[in-house]
Symmetry: C2
Subunit: 360 residues, 2 copies
């Protein structure tokens, strides 16, 4: 291949690593260089089941991946409670970091990751795939168009998942020592990110959690939501849940237009994705029909969004490696804002649904 | 025509009366028997512009319509502040009442209307047209199906309208002496009704208004919202607004299914309407697409929803008139619940966004 191949090592054999290892193979500028697991057998089985390249190194520890000089960057699909330890260590070993979401247990912990990446000059990016779909860029064009969308007023985003009894008992996302943020850290991460994306990453001024969050016996959030308020009057609602049917919605209403889609995190189809845009919508004379009506916009993509994420990450890594560029700050900044809102939701719940002012 | 024609008088020449007078003509069991306005010329102009039947009486006062022995029932499209006076008087004159929404300025005032209807044995129905669309019945089947929808968890409904500067200055819905409930009484009525409909009319236990409602200079609500809480953990969000782009959404999420539509108040098309139902949705193995995906359900209707509303109202009137049936209590009960939630939203705003417990 003509392009440089950024060599990525994978730490752990999590389910999501299957999708991302395929994405690394699909990305034209990246390759899986190594896989490490605490169990060598598990790593071997993963490599063979997921068609890793024959020359990919297979290690029986995470450290071995970080010590491999042929590894440029690592993908970390570990449980959140292990993120700080392994992301910091990866950065110290000068490996660029593609980190699964949620990035950390709280913003303070995330800051240790970012400090390690900064001081070691490595790129950080979180694993929020839909950010990289061309549909997302197309939707941004609509939201940024003052003539078509106007000024943003209301955002609604929710991501709910109906999990099975086994998940509720055994998944890492119900365990306080693994993914302690539960539904908020998992599906909630996406809903909050979508709101921040729609608000062009302007942080809300105030966050108020909804009443009635549901916790499991271990105290992990299974269901919660919040209302977000901006200084200029914008409002957003989000809701996340493991206890209801799979739904992922994003709606943004402006003074002149409305944007909506129902598969913002993972498109219904791999190679094409749609959104609905309405602008200057209205009714016919007797209000017996709409004229005009919202229109559907379909965006096709040769590479799925997870491969586009890897391509973007690898191209930033390559720029640092080959051209001596500085790491792109946009990605860690967005991750940190998402974490800040998550933290504020938790604080609001702890304080009995009181408003929590957001700093920066 | 074979069917009995219920003879309906219209009080006032409001814009909405144009749509409803056409609906009365379209309904097989109703006819416009009279139109009354404070100005005889206006009533004449309305009759001619809207193709009222040649034998429809044209009156220069509302009283004259109520005194006409050939009028069985009245449609009242008057500003809300006049509802109690004219609906009570209509009931006292033994006219059945089809009342435009919002039904009253508050539940106590609505109770005077209902008492008058009850004690005079006349039917009451409010003018919420979408209740009568066959799509609504089809959606109810889905929500009631425990296998497909499961237990209701989350409802979201919002109806926003981007009105023009003239509306903001002159419309009755910005005037404290006419439609004092502003956006809450107008578009908010629909959003609240939709939530109650989805919840099978079980009232929420608690209502908490969102912060940052917008009032015009006269103190009328231009924008507000609230979160509704039920005892069993159900949550609903609603938002209503005159200051953003036309959007009307209803989403209901259960444990096994999701229902959604984007034109619940007034369908995109007059003779067919769709909704999306998803049940047991999920992802393919690597979460690169959905399998299965939500499906679109289209319901066709020969008569538009406003004509179906008139047909339903007229058939209840006819049953009372011809068979001596008792008035159907379902409709005033639903209206009252909608008004109770509206009242609670206002109280929550007045109390600084404190929770308001709902009685009955």
């Amino acid at each position: 291949m003509a392009e440089t191949q950024v060599r990525i090592g994978i730490l752990g054999c999590a389910e999501i690593a299957r999708k991302v290892s395929r994405a690394i193979s699909l990305a034209p500028n990246a390759t899986v260089a190594a896989i490490g697991s605490r169990s060598l057998d598990k790593a071997k089985a993963f490599a063979s089941a997921n068609n890793l390249p024959p020359d990919a190194k297979i290690y029986g520890s995470y450290e071995a991946v970080l010590d491999d000089p042929n590894v440029d960057a690592v993908y970390l699909p570990l449980p959140t409670s292990l993120h700080a330890r392994w992301a910091v260590l990866a950065a110290q070993k000068k490996k660029h970091v593609l980190l699964e979401k949620p990035v950390a247990l709280n913003a303070a912990e995330f800051d240790t990751i970012i400090e390690a990446c900064d001081s070691n000059g490595v790129q950080f990016m979180d694993g929020t795939m839909w950010m990289h779909h061309p549909r997302t860029a197309k939707m941004r064009e609509f939201l940024s168009d003052k003539q078509r969308f106007g000024q943003l007023k209301l955002i609604n985003s929710w991501f709910t998942l109906g999990v099975d009894p086994e998940f509720l008992e055994k998944d890492i996302r119900v365990k306080p020592d693994l993914d302690a943020q539960g539904a908020l850290g998992d599906v909630g991460w996406y809903a909050i990110r979508a709101i921040l994306w729609a608000a062009d990453y302007e942080l809300p001024k105030k966050v108020i959690a909804l009443r009635g969050p549901v916790f499991n016996e271990a105290g992990v959030i299974m269901s919660c939501g919040a209302t977000l308020y901006w200084e200029d009057g914008q409002i957003a609602n989000f809701y996340c849940c493991f206890l209801s049917h799979l739904t992922m919605d994003l709606t943004a209403i402006g003074t002149k237009g409305t944007l909506r889609l129902h598969d913002f995190v993972a498109p219904f189809e791999e190679h094409e994705a749609s959104f609905y845009a309405g602008t200057a919508l209205g009714f016919n004379e007797l209000v017996t029909a709409w004229a005009p009506q919202p229109s559907e916009h379909t965006v096709t993509t040769h590479l799925p969004q997870e491969a586009l994420m890897v391509r973007e990450f690898a191209s930033l890594v390559e720029a640092i490696k080959v051209k001596g560029s500085r790491p792109e700050k946009k990605w860690p900044t967005i991750s940190r804002k998402t974490q800040l809102v998550m933290d504020a939701v938790k604080v609001s719940i702890e304080r009995g649904f009181e408003p929590v002012e957001l700093g920066s």
